[in-house]
Amino acid sequence: MSSYYYCQTDGFLLRAYTEASQRNRSAHIDDESHARHGIELKPAAQEFFLDRIVTDSGQLSLLISDRTISMAKYGWLFDVKRCIECRACESACKQWNGVETGVNIRYRQVHTSESGKYPNVTTQALSLACNHCEDAWCMKACPVKAYFRRDDGIVLIDWDRCVGCTMCSLLCPYGAPQFNWAKRKMEKCTMCADRVDANLAPACATLCPTEALQWGLWDNIKGKGVPQVSGFANPNQTKPNIRFVTAGWAKK
């Protein structure tokens, strides 16, 4: 775990980073009895870091990657009402991307939550992967510039460069980059860039049986739905390319 990249700039940052990474690690550890029951999308550590980055311009200049940020071209449209928690999206992703099952990594995950009190209770399921944000903090955080963005907006990790410091996972509000203990690198949803290149939708959207999860041109999606639902971190931070449909039963 390479926390030494920042030690010469800010001892405070280093201490916070170490604490945060320990907290974040426990959030990633598979808790069997709660695997289904909802995962916090935004560990407290991230909030700390966000304040630092936004307010402390000295740190900000250190963290910006010099790769250009271009306009995203694709995005996700998720209809909260239609999700039946079948996990087709998770299985499809694992199949296509060959994500191992022994390392507790799921590029895409269905997060369930509930609110209210019986009998005035409601539940929600969100299928989330990487939002290939317009202002991706993972890219900013990476000390070795392992992140890059394609012309179509898809954000990818260059494994020749990644050293597995996990900085990106601390800053991502959505838990997208995950550390693979077997490879010792970060991994995340690639929006099935290889399928996109073959004019196919990502595996997850291809399989979703109720069309709760859809993928398409961001220009078509950005006007639909709302940018945030409960449990989803504030989109004003990184400008994720996702919209949520929460009302109406129009035919898809």
């Binding site: 695997a35 289904r36 039946i84 928690e85 079948c86 499809a92 199949q95 799921r106 539940t123 898809k252």
Partner: protein, 758 residues
């Protein structure tokens, strides 16, 4: 023979290559020369062109709608599974289980070779001392055992725990007069199948949700339970403006989707259904045209009105805790909608409680009153390709009559006996108490002990069976008790014709084809049936020319007669065949008795130990001071009954179960999130960590079914979670008669429990 020659030839070729590989002939002295032979056995010359990526069509086998699959296969290994466009089941998509299908075939834990035990002592913790045997030896041994038991003890001494499929397997059982075939259908849709035969004429799974405008759901988490075809249907209905009302003690996925949800008291759906019938009948809201022309309502009107009068919404509110005005309003809306449907499906409705038979009947009546039997928006008879069975293609000699005693007591329940399905819930009692020692030979086809109520009792019962054969894909707990284990091929490795019946206004069939050769030495049940047939009842397994039945020729003939193609190869090249024909709604219904009408009042029930009209009965187990809480079980969306917990993808998503309860209940009992609790009923106890959720009534505890596999041979699922069934009482037939459970419901959720923190 040809195979052996080919093998020798390739060995010769390979040896030349190897000599090149070894840098020339005469390499070294005899040292290692003999070991060259070993190499020959395991390698051969590479095939000239390795197959690139192929796209093959097949059908999923995780659950019964059998969604069409478009499979990308590279080099004999599955690369990707996705849905099949135009498919009525799945509509071009798959669920998480289907998409994880490759992991079933590629599970390192899967059974690979036939085995026999060397250690005669049987127990969950005994090491069987497995010895690998050939299929020949396995089949010969099994056949001898069957013949022995038949001649010494008669057909009643044979127990087959299996569905009656494939047809060649049923033929085998019929050919030797098997009387004790037991399946899980009492855990599933037995009750509804029996009731429907008398009320609407056929058990249908086809529900016209898309065209419905009022969907009334009793207890069925239709959106999340395994079958995407029903979820898609209900969503389409919703898009078309349907109202969805849901009764369930659990705020399920469906509940959040529904327009109205009521946390009904467990086991009291019958009260609500009866009261709804009462409202519809007393206020004359039923579909006059349908009811008067296509049902026997007029004939028995007085009896019906008199009987139903007692079931007022006010009465039902006391039983169910659903407000009377809600019951009344929903009943009126349902009837007025014109295209209302109250689907009943499998376990979640037809097997849970002792009053399931009456509930099935009541719900059938609701659909009949709505006038939507085989009408838009309602339950309908799927249009299907008629695929002949093997008995039609190779007619057998007359089967011997079935004589003997029923180990599961079906004979005490006339309606169950005539149906032939079930009974899991009474098997343990049969083996241990009713007819101990009668069964000398048993064959378990892919069922695990987890599928039974009170599994520990079944473990004890299994020990009393002198010879047990288990055929499965995985080394489950049942396998530990086997004398011979047969490794089963998965659905990805077999060929078949799959006919659509869940959403089929037109006939549609999909070719299930093996995506790669069956791995290791796994085989299909059809193969076992034929091979045992040859040994035990040869006269039933020859064609008219005296040759053994050729299953692949039979498959070709099935395809041809069904009009799907000249032969299976042609059919599988097409993959999916749909016949464009208009849907013709019935005017005659094939109910028992031959009147051609739907039956609200069922006169035949009186002679068969059942009620002609549904009568209110509570569930069997009611809260008491010792056991104050209702026990609910549930199958999570990510798993399928108890057979998927070891699948690598699905295991990762949901590896274990918990004791789910309302925080108010937990607080009352001093239980915190994650704390271990003991759930105890009158028959058993389990221990699980608690999970608090507001989605449950405060007088219930809910446990996901399918976990608690003990077998450490299941490297992922073994040792995870607890068996929900340990707490559920099993039954005997006398109890069922007494409880008015005339259509054989397994009462798979009828338990009350005590909960204590540990």
């Amino acid at each position: 023979m040809g195979e052996e020659v080919a093998r020798r030839m390739t060995m010769a070729i390979t040896r030349r290559n190897w000599l090149q590989l070894t840098g020339g002939a005469g390499a070294g002295a005899l040292a290692g020369g003999k070991l060259l032979g070993a190499f020959d056995d395991y390698f051969r010359a590479a095939a000239p062109a390795a197959a690139g990526e192929q796209t093959l069509i097949t059908a999923c086998g995780v659950c019964s709608p059998a969604c069409g699959i478009k499979a990308t296969v590279k080099d004999g290994a599955i690369r990707f599974l996705e849905g099949l466009e135009g498919d009525f089941s799945g509509d071009g998509r798959l669920c998480g289980k289907g998409a994880a299908g490759a992991q079933f075939a590629y599970d390192p834990d899967r059974l690979k070779y036939p085995m026999r035990r060397a250690n005669p002592n049987k127990g969950l913790d005994e090491d069987p001392g497995w010895v690998r045997i050939s299929w020949q030896e396995a089949l010969d041994t099994i056949a001898d055992r069957i013949k022995n038991a038949l001649s010494r003890y008669g057909a009643e001494s044979l127990l087959f725990v299996t569905l009656p499929a494939p047809d060649i397997w049923l033929r085998f059982m019929n050919s030797i007069g098997v009387i004790n075939r037991v399946d899980h259908i009492d855990d599933c849709f037995l009750t509804d199948r029996i009731i429907q035969r008398y009320t609407t004429g056929v058990k249908t799974w086809a529900n016209d949700f898309e065209n419905s405008n009022y969907i009334l759901l009793f207890g069925w988490d239709i959106l999340a339970k395994t079958k995407i075809v029903t979820a898609q249907g209900v969503i389409k209905g919703k898009e078309n403006g349907a109202k969805v009302v849901c009764f369930n003690p659990h705020y399920s996925t469906t509940a959040r989707f529904a327009d109205e949800w009521y946390g009904i008291r467990p086991g009291s759906d019958l009260a609500v259904a009866l009261a709804m019938i009462q409202v519809i009948i007393s206020e004359n809201l039923y579909n006059q045209e349908f009811v008067e022309n296509y049902t026997n309502f007029k004939e028995y009107e007085t009896k019906i009105r008199e009987h139903m009068a007692q079931y007022t919404p006010e009465w039902a509110e006391k039983e169910s805790e659903v407000p009377a005005d809600v019951i009344r309003r929903v009943a009126r809306e349902f009837a007025a909608a014109g295209r209302g449907i109250a689907p009943a499906h499998k376990k979640t409705l037809c097997a849970n409680y002792a009053n399931a038979s009456q509930l099935s009947h009541a719900i059938s009546i609701l659909n009949i009153l709505a006038g939507t039997i085989d009408r838009p928006g309602g339950r309908y008879l799927p249009a299907a390709f008629s695929v002949p069975g093997v008995d039609a293609i190779v007619p057998p000699p007359a089967y011997p009559p079935k004589r003997g005693r029923y180990i599961d007591g079906k004979d005490k329940l006339p309606l169950v006996l005539e149906d032939g399905g079930g009974l899991f819930s009474t098997l343990s009692d049969g083996l241990l108490n009713k007819y101990p020692g009668m069964i000398k030979f048993a064959f378990f086809n892919a069922y695990t002990v987890l599928g039974f109520p009170n599994p520990p009792k079944l473990f004890e019962a299994l020990k009393t069976i002198p010879f047990l054969v288990v055929m499965d894909t995985l080394p489950t707990d049942t396998v530990t008790f086997a004398d011979i284990v047969l490794p089963s091929a998965t659905y990805l490795e077999v060929n078949d014709v799959v006919v659509r019946d869940y959403r089929a206004k037109k006939p549609q069939a999909v070719a299930r084809q093996a995506l790669f050769p069956a791995m290791f030495e796994t085989r299909s049940v059809g193969y076992v049936a034929l091979e045992l047939g040859k040994r035990v009842a040869p006269d039933y397994f020859k064609d008219k020319d005296g040759n053994w039945i050729d299953l692949s020729a039979v498959l070709d003939e099935k395809v041809k007669r069904a009009g799907l193609g000249e032969n299976f190869n042609e059919f599988k090249a097409k993959g999916i065949v749909t016949r464009d024909q208009p849907y013709v709604p019935r005017t005659r219904f094939n109910t028992v008795g031959g009147t051609g009408k739907c039956q609200i009042y069922v006169p035949q029930f009186a002679e068969k130990g059942a009620d002609p009209l549904p009568v209110w009965r509570p569930k069997r187990e009611l809260p008491s001071p010792e056991f104050p809480y209702y026990y609910l079980t549930c199958i999570p969306a990510v798993h399928r009954r108890n057979s998927t917990e070891n699948n690598a993808f699905l295991h990762e998503m949901l590896p274990t179960n918990t004791a789910m309860m309302n925080p108010a209940l937990a607080a009352k009992l001093g239980i915190k999130e994650g704390q271990k609790v003991r759930i105890r009923s009158r028959v058993g106890a389990i221990e699980l960590p608690a999970h608090l959720t507001e989605t449950l009534r405060p007088d219930c505890v809910m446990v996901y079914h399918g976990f608690g596999h003990r077998s450490r041979l299941l490297t992922k699922a073994g040792g995870k979670g607890a068996r929900d069934g340990d707490v559920i009482p099993d039954q005997n037939a006398d109890e069922m008669v007494k409880a008015g459970n005339y259509a054989g419901a397994a009462c798979i959720m009828d338990a009350v429990v005590n909960i204590e923190p540990l």
